[in-house]
């Protein structure tokens, strides 16, 4: 973990500001008096921590979890069984196992124990959650909810079953809840500042591009999961001690959804969004509860209508939540950003060649690649052309580990990459761009480049690494550095993808149709961009394009693919003169 002082300062500042706003509102509300007002604030504060717990995992990784309530339940019961006084326990839980009958600890220790127990169980379960992809993690967390529910209801010696446990010593006042909420805010902010937190966000933005740039899905998700478990346990433990009792009804799927609504209404990507959502939903729920009171409108379960309605409206009108990606911490980050001194790096041409040989790929019965191969020497620019369906992109995907080959070999110097996963291919020194643009759309332009620079700092330390700001300058994107990448126009998005790949300090850049959708003039400019970026970082280039003009201008050497085989190769002039190429590429009439 690389937690610099600036990051801690920033997180603390943002957290202080947010908690100050909430505290001011809360004070204005509770000054009207009444214990019920204080208990509403207590409820809001514990919700706060639970929502932040969810935000750290769901918000940063984009993986939906229904199972957080299961772990909140574990934490609550863990708190109860160690905190309930021995005498009371002898009565309510006479057969309690694990020698817990003689255990009675204070509030602080109980909270820590709950966090530890939950994190250990969560860590085991998290392996399953974070290894899976698609909807499977969501289903696994849903399964967790059912399993924990049934175990709690039936392991009566430990939990007293469906009736729940009471007699947990209550913590006086809301003071400690405020402290807990503040701690949760700092942790959630700080997580987004750490390298692994940024990586988690990258995987949320694009599950395919992140590994292709050297970011491992599992480890970044797992880190988010672990931190998320800790916060969830903190919230649940404090809630148990604030209410003085626990029972399984507090941890149903519905209860989990209430927390989820708070998260998505404000905007799940940011901590500020989570805070806003918690306040809005808690307040709205209370207003509707009072409106539905028998003395007023007399509508039972009126808050449910508010919840469903709010969620639907937000999804239809602002799917990314009220705040979207706007956030106090992000604003601070931009304001506090200072360019480092521009360091001119000595271009370091690699010593290893990229060799793919005799590659065979079958898609069902269709032969996509039938023994194609190529070699890119250090610092060289190779153009890969061929008609549609010739297997160009498939060859790229084989080299970068996205598509498995049935036969053949891929190697970088003496490093065998044949069966390497995308993340390891990227870390070994091959950075790619995608035909259909896979930027981290909701992140700023600078962030896109900075993310791969972070990977480079960790895994490409042996190479001279380019400064992200210099790369942005070269790409002509400095002006837009703070804009979300998804809002750039097409040509700039292409240039950003190139800069992002270059920031990995790769030995080879693999560019999949870098000029598609560009005008002739832009294509010409792209020749310059690619050459200057490659020269700056000393990388060789393998580039696919349809635009013959572009390819002949940029390439030192051209490989022509047709029907999965290499049809011809040579200098641009040689390839141009080759009648076979003209026939395959332009049709026999040309």
């Amino acid at each position: 973990m690389n937690i610099g002082l600036a990051k801690v300062t920033r997180s603390t500042l943002a957290s202080t500001a947010l908690i100050a706003i909430v505290a001011t509102l809360a004070m204005a509300y509770t000054s009207g008096g009444g214990a019920s007002r204080d208990s509403l604030i207590a409820e809001m504060l514990t919700n706060f921590i639970l929502v932040l717990g969810m935000q750290v995992f769901i918000g940063n990784t984009g993986v939906l979890s229904f199972g957080h309530m299961a772990f909140a339940q574990i934490a609550s019961y863990a708190t109860a069984v160690v905190a309930i006084p021995i005498a009371a326990k002898a009565k309510s839980l006479p057969d309690i196992p694990f020698g817990l009958a003689d255990v009675e600890v204070g509030a602080f220790s109980a909270t820590l124990i709950a966090i530890a127990v939950t994190m250990v169980l969560g860590a085991l379960f998290g392996v399953a959650v974070c290894r899976a992809s698609g909807l499977a993690p969501t289903m696994i967390t849903l399964a967790a909810l059912f399993v924990v529910d049934q175990v709690v209801k039936n392991w009566k010696e430990l939990t007293r079953g469906a009736g729940g446990l009471s007699g947990i010593p209550r913590i006086e006042g809301n003071g400690w809840l405020w402290v807990g909420a503040f701690v949760a805010l700092v942790v959630a902010h700080l997580f987004q500042e750490t390298r692994i937190g940024r990586f988690a966000i990258a995987t949320r933005e694009d599950e395919l591009a992140a590994p292709a740039l050297g970011i491992r899905l599992f480890s970044s998700r797992y880190a988010a999961w672990a931190v998320s478990m800790g916060l969830t346990a903190l919230g649940a433990s404090l809630r148990a001690q604030s209410l003085g009792s626990v029972n399984p009804k507090q941890f149903t799927l519905d209860a989990g959804i209430l927390v989820l609504v708070m998260l998505v209404v404000g905007g799940m990507h940011t901590v500020s969004g989570a805070v806003l959502g918690t306040v809005l939903i808690t307040v709205g729920n209370e207003i509707f509860r009072q409106l539905g009171d028998p003395q007023r409108l007399g509508i039972e379960r009126f808050p449910d209508l508010f919840l469903g309605g709010t969620m639907l409206l937000v999804m239809l009108l602002r799917p990314s939540g009220i705040l979207g990606d706007r956030d106090l911490a992000g604003w601070l980050r931009r304001r506090m950003y200072r360019r480092g001194p521009a360091v001119e790096i000595e271009p370091q041409v690699g010593e290893r060649a990229l060799v793919a040989s005799e590659i065979e790929v079958l898609f069902g019965g269709f032969v996509a690649l039938d023994g194609a191969g190529l070699t890119v020497r250090p610092g060289e620019v190779i153009g890969l052309i061929g008609p549609n369906g010739a297997g160009k992109t498939t060859l790229f995907n084989v080299i970068t580990g996205i598509v498995p080959e049935q036969a053949g070999r891929v190697a970088l110097g003496d490093r065998d990459l044949t069966d390497a996963k995308p993340v390891d291919v990227a870390r070994a020194g091959l950075a790619r761009t995608f035909q259909n643009l896979r930027l981290f759309k909701n992140l700023s332009v600078r962030e896109n480049v900075a993310l791969t620079a972070l990977v480079a700092a960790r895994h490409r330390g042996h190479r001279a690494r380019p400064d992200p700001d210099t790369l942005l300058d070269d790409a002509g994107l400095t002006e837009w550095a703070d804009r979300p990448a998804g809002t750039l126009d097409y040509g700039n998005q292409r240039r950003l993808e190139l800069a992002r790949a270059a920031a990995l300090a790769p030995e080879f850049l693999l560019l999949d149709e870098p000029t598609s959708g560009m005008s002739d003039q832009e294509s010409l400019a792209m020749v310059q961009s690619v050459r200057s970026v490659a020269a700056r970082i000393g990388a060789g280039v393998l580039v696919i394009d349809h635009d013959l003009g572009f390819i002949t201008r940029i390439s030192d050497h051209i490989v022509v693919l047709n029907e999965g085989r290499v049809l011809a190769e040579g200098t641009p002039a040689e390839v141009r003169a080759n009648p076979l190429v003209a026939e395959a590429y332009l049709g026999s009439s040309a």
Binding site: G134, P137, I140, V264, R301, L307, G308, M315, P319, F434
Partner: protein
Amino acid sequence: MTKLLQTIVDGLGVGSTYALLALGISLIFGVMHLVNFAHGELITVGAYTSYFFFLHGGSWWWMPFVIIASAMLASVATELVAFRWVRNSSPFTLLLTSFALERLSHALWQIFVSPKQRAFPKPSWVFNQFKIAGVSFEVMDVVTIAVTAATLVLTAVIFKRTLFGISVRGAAEDFDAARLMGVRANRVISGAFAFAGFLAGVAACLILMRSPAAEPSMGSDWLLKAVIAAVIGGLGSFTGAVVGGLVLGLLETLTRAYLPDLADGWDKFSTAVVFVLIALFFVVRPDGIFKVSHAERV
């Protein structure tokens, strides 16, 4: 042997209801990448419709048609008022939208009818039993299995033979390509929702004959099981949905019946055991039994 046979028939009975619901979920996922958490609400719609009709002299002779029609209408309506407007959003947004509809549906039934259960009569023959070679079976189990089988055959015919079915399968394979080939997006999607509604309506009939009562949140438990079944089978795969449903049903009844024999005192934990198995399954095969590769270009 007798116990095993009865357990299997039981399991197929529950499983085929899951299968019908899972098929609808898988179908909708195929055409628009939506995991429809509001799908279970179609059962609730069918239940309340039955309740109102029985208040005014309904009869089980024609009730199934009313239930199915109401589920189809409700399904198409959810698409019109909600899903159509978020069609191009991320799967996450789509899922949460359906979730919001589910919540809203619960709240509306609670507010406008009652949070309490509303019961209506059941068909007289439901719990009758009959014996074949000394093994007794419940009539309803056999009816459930037969109706499901017939519905699945009908579904297969529609999706293999009719233009509508082929359009939907094409759209599930690659929506953009299907559109270029002249398939009309709105029509295919509305049609898919109508068909999912039909399947849910059939499932609702089978469920309501057994337990004829309407309750605001009755759809949720079925829905969760059906979603799990669909994902076990492989979302987007029709065969997968059916297999997933049957597997889940069998797994549940077999665990309930045989777990106490294997481990003393574990009968209380049968659901937990089932879900631990499911979680393990997803670790090994995150894409389900029948992996569906979607047309996504890299």
